[in-house]
Symmetry: C2
Subunit: 148 residues, 2 copies
C-alpha cells in the first residue's frame, strides 16, 4: 500500500470523525425522539430565542431546504412553532414550544456530557489549536465553494 500524505489523512480522519459523532449522538438522543441535526437546531434556539428559518440555516451553515425539513420534523413533534411576522409576509419566525424549551435543556446537558466524554483525553492546548485549524479550513472551504 502506497504511503499516504498528511493531507489525505486529514480528510480521512475528518470524515470519519463526523460520521462517528453523528452515529454516537443519534444513539444517545434517540430516546428523546431526537437526532443530532434536530438537537443542534433546538440548542441554537435555546441560545437565541427567536430566529427566522433563513437565520437558523445560516447560523448552522446548512441550506434552507435542509432546514425546512428539519423544522417540519420538529414542528410535527411539537417542539417548535412557525410564526408569520408582521411587516414581511415572506418571513417565518421559529420559536420553541414549552415542551421544546424543556427538551432543549435536557439536550444541552446531555450534549455537554457527551462532548466531555469523547474529548476526555485531549488536552486544552491541542483542542484549541485543532479548533483554530478547523476554523481556518472552514473559511477556506467556504470561499472555494462560493467561487464555484
Amino acid at each position: 500500500m502506497p504511503h499516504q500524505t498528511p493531507h489525505f489523512h486529514f480528510v480521512d480522519e475528518l470524515s470519519k470523525a463526523s460520521r462517528k459523532l453523528r452515529t454516537l449522538f443519534d444513539a444517545r438522543v434517540k430516546q428523546l425522539g431526537l437526532t443530532l441535526a434536530r438537537a443542534r437546531t433546538l440548542m441554537l434556539l435555546d441560545r437565541r430565542e427567536v430566529l427566522s428559518q433563513k437565520e437558523l440555516a445560516e447560523e448552522l451553515e446548512i441550506e434552507t431546504p435542509t432546514m425546512v425539513r428539519l423544522l417540519d420534523g420538529l414542528e410535527k413533534q411539537g417542539f417548535i412553532e412557525r410564526r408569520g411576522v408582521e411587516g414581511d409576509r415572506r418571513v417565518k419566525q421559529v420559536v420553541m414550544t414549552a415542551q421544546g424549551a424543556e427538551l432543549a435543556k435536557d439536550v444541552n446537558h446531555l450534549a455537554q456530557e457527551l462532548r466531555a466524554e469523547f474529548l476526555r483525553d485531549i488536552n486544552d492546548k491541542d483542542l484549541l489549536k485543532t479548533i483554530d485549524v478547523l476554523r481556518a479550513v472552514n473559511l477556506r472551504l467556504g470561499d472555494l465553494i462560493e467561487r464555484g
Copy 2:
C-alpha cells in the same frame, strides 16, 4: 448569547468542515459522474486492488449496507465489478474495470489538488497535530459507539 465552550466549538467546526468538504468535493467531481463517497471507494481500490465488500466497508469505516449501495452505483456506472470468490460463496470481491482504473487516476489527481488548495494556509506542524487529535477522537468515539 451565552458563551460557548471549546468542546462545543470543536463539534460545531468539525460538523461544518465535513459538510463543506463533501459539498466542494461533490461539485468538483460531478463532471466525472462521481461523488465524494464513490471517489473514496475508487481511491481505496486504486491503492489496494482487490477487496471484499466487507473489507472495503471496514477500511472506510462505514456500514456494509452503505457500501452495498455505493457499489451498486459504481457497478451500474461500469467502474467496478463484483466477483464471487472460490472457497467461500458468501464473499464477493470488488475489482475496478479498466474504465474505473482510468478514472481512479484522474480522481486521485483531482483530490490531491483540492486538498492542497483548501489546506494551503495550514502549516505542517499544526496539520499533524490536528490529525493526531482527530485520530484520538476517532478511537474514543469508536469505543463509545461499541459500548452502546
